[in-house]
């Protein structure tokens, strides 16, 4: 089981870094502005030569969903980290992690550790989602603790203002992940989890689904464009994940993913 998971993930982590995803490929094909040839050429060269699409091959974030009654007889964290180390040692990727954040910042030279979040779900299989998280887009993450009496327009204004002021540094078109509710930490994790959703996924609640649709439209009106040069779309998508919260709080977290949308999702049948 452990080896199987490492094998599958190593392959998927490689693919996410090297092969452009179908949804993004379609959007790049439609774009004809500045540097459009370079964008198209890039996807062909990386595929042909096994080079990463971007030199920032990221820190890997995992979101693992276990069946509720599962027994695991091995170190799951270690298996996930091993899949990262194997992938990044074997391929011409960049080691982008440092051991300690403030004083030495010494490079780990194997791209470990990954950031791992565990959840339980009602299914009978293990689902592992991951994001290849580049530093540029990660630096645009934000958390705001709203007054609970604000309305959805206030929330919308805050999100639009944040993307307007910072979106250009996240390699647009962007995927925008929104976490709302819970506690501060919960909101941030939800905003990251939102980035793992597929392009056509909409929030099952109609109010949140509508908010997603409105945000997609209004964020695209900002005309940030591909390469932040004002032509083409500005965001691919907005995904919102909500959670129950305290009567006195309304946490809102925004996470951003770059135009390459490097992510994956695997199911491990038990």
């Amino acid at each position: 089981m452990k080896e199987k998971i490492i094998d599958i993930l190593s392959e998927e982590l490689m693919k996410a870094n090297v092969f452009i995803c179908k949804d993004v490929e379609k959007e790049i094909a439609k774009y004809n502005g500045v540097f459009s040839n370079e964008l198209k050429e890039n996807t062909l060269i990386s595929k042909k030569k096994g080079l990463p699409l971007c030199q920032d091959t990221g820190i890997v974030e995992f979101f693992v969903f276990f069946p509720k009654n599962i027994n695991i007889d091995f170190d799951f964290n270690q298996a996930l980290n091993e899949s990262v180390i194997r992938t990044y040692e074997k391929n011409p990727f960049r080691y982008s992690t440092v051991k300690e954040p403030l004083f030495e910042r010494k490079n780990m030279k194997n791209n470990s550790p990954s950031i791992i979040h565990y959840f339980f779900h009602d299914e009978k299989y293990i689902e592992i989602r991951f994001l290849i998280k580049g530093g540029g887009s990660e630096n645009l993450s934000i958390l705001n603790m709203f007054n609970p009496s604000v309305d959805s327009n206030d929330i919308k204004k805050f999100i639009i203002e944040h993307i307007k002021n910072n979106g250009v540094r996240g390699c647009p078109p962007l995927n925008v992940g929104i976490g709302i509710g819970g506690t501060s930490d919960k909101a941030l994790i939800l905003s990251k989890l939102a980035l793992t959703e597929e392009f056509n996924f909409r929030n099952p609640d109609k109010n949140y689904a509508q908010l997603e649709t409105e945000l997609i439209k209004e964020l695209n009106n900002l005309n940030i464009g591909f390469q932040a040069l004002g032509e083409g779309i500005s965001v691919y998508n907005v995904h919102i994940k909500e959670y129950s919260t305290h009567i006195a709080t309304l946490p809102l977290a925004i996470s951003i993913d770059c135009y390459l949308s490097r992510k994956g999702r695997v199911k491990i049948e038990l």
Binding site: I45, L53, R94
Partner: protein, 171 residues
């Protein structure tokens, strides 16, 4: 020597002739340098240590390449966010670099710095590192090797795509 090929076949030899929005294909030398190397250069200057290279007329490319595969001279390479280097920019202009290359907008004060020092800020296509690595003819680490991908590196490039984001009039 700096040789610049501008798109419509017009040859320009002086960065100061460039205007915001111009696209050029640059051939020549680039010096790769990012966060950690800037921090160390600052420490060197503060403690009067001799710098590892003369920055005069150098073009600084904010980047950190991926690992080099056997089949080409460099790994995937592309621009990183320039704004993180804004606080070091005047220091680098005083060392008389000629231009910087990165991605994204910069702080407002960069426009006036560019005007004051007559320097240019270019962006090169971000997230296209496989493609950009094909434009690199030569690659070597020249200082701070211990910083790995963040060391100071010298590239020789051919037809490297650049877009003038802030020209030397601060526009």
């Amino acid at each position: 020597m700096i040789v610049i090929y501008q798109e419509k076949g017009v040859l320009k030899l002086n960065f100061n002739d460039l205007k915001k929005g111009d696209i050029i294909y640059y051939s020549g030398e680039l010096i790769v340098m990012r966060d950690a190397a800037h921090k160390r250069i600052k420490e060197f200057l503060e403690s009067n240590k001799e710098l590892p290279l003369n920055f005069k007329d150098k073009i600084i490319f904010y980047a950190g390449p991926s690992k080099k595969p056997d089949f080409q001279v460099i790994g995937a390479v592309g621009p990183t966010t320039s704004k993180r280097m804004d606080s070091f920019l005047e220091m680098m202009y005083q060392l008389d670099i000629s231009a910087t290359i990165g991605k994204g907008e910069r702080s407002d004060f960069v426009n006036s710095l560019n005007k004051k020092y007559k320097k240019v800020y270019f962006v090169s296509p971000s997230g296209t590192a496989a493609s950009l690595s094909q434009k690199v003819l030569n690659y070597e680490t020249i200082a701070f090797e211990d910083l790995g991908t963040e060391s100071i590196q010298r590239l020789v490039v051919k037809n490297f795509p650049l877009y003038v984001m802030i020209d030397s009039n601060g526009k």
